[in-house]
């Protein structure tokens, strides 16, 4: 899932500037699961904004809404009729939700209330960690199912750097070394041979480097492509 965390309240206040009427819009999917922008967080943030703005002497009117998925037109379209009333929208969705709102409703500015942080999973209650950087050319089949793109601090493809020691990454003793994990699992699975082959330079053109990536599935499209 997409993992995000809320921006500091002071930053949000500054983003809102002199807006007097604000709609806070949450999302019922990833950011609900990671407790950053679901209905509950929307409620808490909305009251914090009301209080803060009152304390600062220019009270803000803050309304709340949460849609099931802020990244799909059909879920956000129903918001349209309400938007005219607000100076701005504050979205508690990931960056995709924020952009979906801005794209769908060009006359209303939607501001981000979260920092979208990574694609990951909850390792335990209250702890999330990154697992994938959506590199566009998945190599998990070559690395014992553990991603060195997201989990090695240097995105190495041919084994550990010189700084790996006692299972942790040279960057931070709290980060497990991805290559230690890959090695151990490959040994366990009897797939060490795979790690001894030289992996050629990665094709980063499938990654973040060429403008927005796009997938078109003709089999699923409703309109015929020209």
């Amino acid at each position: 899932m997409i993992v995000a965390e809320q921006k500091p309240l002071a930053e949000i206040m500054e983003l809102l500037g002199d807006a007097r009427k604000v709609l806070v819009v949450g999302c019922g999917t990833c950011v609900t699961v990671c407790f950053a922008g679901g209905e509950k967080e929307v409620g808490i943030l909305a009251s914090a904004l009301r209080m803060m703005s009152k304390l600062e002497g220019h009270p803000m009117e803050v309304d709340e809404a949460t849609v099931q998925r802020q990244c799909e037109w059909e879920y956000i379209d129903p918001l349209e009729e309400r938007l005219g009333e607000y100076d701005v929208v504050l979205s508690l969705a990931c960056g995709i939700g924020v952009q979906a709102m801005n794209e769908r409703f060009p006359d209303t500015l939607t501001l981000p209330g979260l920092n979208t942080t990574f694609l990951g999973l909850p390792e335990e209650q209250g702890v999330w960690e990154e697992r994938c950087q959506a590199c566009g050319d998945c190599i998990l089949g070559l690395t014992a199912g553990i991603c060195p793109i997201a989990r090695c601090s240097k995105q190495l493809l041919n084994g550990p750097c010189g700084g790996s020691q006692n299972g942790v990454c040279e960057v931070d003793p709290d980060i497990p070394c991805a290559w230690q994990l890959i090695w151990e699992r490959a040994v366990k699975l009897g797939r060490v041979d795979q790690l001894l082959e030289i992996q050629p330079p990665k094709d980063w053109s499938k990654s973040r480097d060429g403008g927005p990536r796009k997938i078109v599935r003709e089999d699923l499209r409703l309109v015929e492509a020209e």
Partner: protein, 328 residues
């Protein structure tokens, strides 16, 4: 160039010739300044001249910005020192690396050490974006293909003069997973490494175990392995390396010897303590070289005494490795 090919050398560098002739090689290290004064390089080059067969010029070592390795190498060469240019994957993508290698070769550089690079969070620009377009194994292969296939990483032919480097790589026998380390070295050899310089050794038994595996795999016959050593500066420095530097192992015996070195010298007498430390540090290093030399598969020594270049001569001399041989 044709001449070098004819006599079978890959690059024709002094380091390559020394190793090919079967001499026990000596390399050292020169750290470029955090400023633009050429004299900083020239002064260090004069100190190191004649005591090492080639000298590594670090590339933004520990992710701190310094004069570039190639530019410093050109300066060092003007003092008669043969440089080993260092190139990390942290700061440059494949375009920048290849462009710099063409330039380095045009400027007379012949040895190249291919490195991953320390993480930027250690240095003075921790908010920088790292590159890691290639890793060190891929970098080695690219440099080899430039030399032996005459082509760029993309496959296009290099036009005219082809850069022919003597290709070096690093190995860390003290990193984990230990079992993987000899294989990682094998990958670097398969990718095209001609010589290896190891991480600083302060645990000879573990290095011996590593070399045993390397020799069992026959790697020492395919690549020249230079063992990394360096003089300890003080007991504090020894402790720091033991406890704080990722990827290093320092046996307690070395820390204890450094502590014992200043026994009886009053704390206030900083100068005497420093002298005592340095003497012991150099002595330990000499003893290590003598011990390491006996290990099968070791083709030379790489002495890392950054910001203490003066120590290299007494070490090389003490180890009985002077004068350095010349090979025509």
């Amino acid at each position: 160039m044709a001449e070098e090919r004819a006599n079978g050398y890959k690059s024709g560098s002094n380091l390559e010739k020394i190793l090919r002739a079967g001499h026990f090689a000596v390399t050292a290290e020169l750290g470029p300044p955090q400023g633009a004064d050429p004299e900083d390089i020239l002064r260090k080059a004069r100190i190191l001249k004649g005591v090492a067969d080639a000298v590594n010029i670090t590339d933004n070592q520990t992710a701190i910005v310094r004069m570039s390795s190639i530019a410093s190498g050109v300066l060092a060469m003007s003092e008669g020192l043969e440089p080993v240019v260092q190139m990390t994957c942290r700061d440059r993508n494949r375009l920048a690396i290849q462009a710099d290698l063409l330039g380095a070769y045009a400027l007379g550089m012949r040895n190249l050490l291919c490195l991953t690079g320390d993480h930027q969070s250690f240095g003075n620009h921790p908010t920088a974006k790292n590159v890691h377009d290639l890793d060190s194994v891929q970098l080695i292969r690219m440099v080899k293909d430039m030399r032996d296939e005459g082509c760029f990483q993309c496959g296009d032919a290099i036009k005219g003069v082809v850069p022919r480097f003597f290709i070096g790589a690093a190995a860390n026998p003290f990193g984990d997973p230990f079992e993987f380390r000899p294989y990682r070295l094998a990958k670097k050899v398969a990718a095209g490494a001609d010589f290896i310089q190891t991480q600083l050794i302060y645990d000879i038994p573990r290095f011996r175990e590593f070399m045993k595996r390397v020799v069992d795999m026959g790697l020492h016959e395919k690549v020249y392995i230079l063992a990394g050593v360096g003089p300890l500066k003080s007991s504090g420095a020894a402790r720091y390396m033991r406890d704080k530097v990722p990827g290093m192992i320092v046996r307690d015996e070395y820390v204890e010897r450094m502590v014992a070195a200043i026994k009886g010298i009053p704390k206030e007498d900083k100068k005497a303590r420093r002298e005592a430390w340095r003497k012991t540090g150099i002595q330990i290093c000499i003893e290590q070289i003598q011990e390491i030399r006996e290990i099968e598969g070791v083709a030379g020594i790489h002495i890392m005494a950054i910001e203490w270049e003066e120590a290299v001569r007494p070490i090389v001399e003490g180890a009985g490795l002077l004068p350095r041989p010349t090979v025509e």
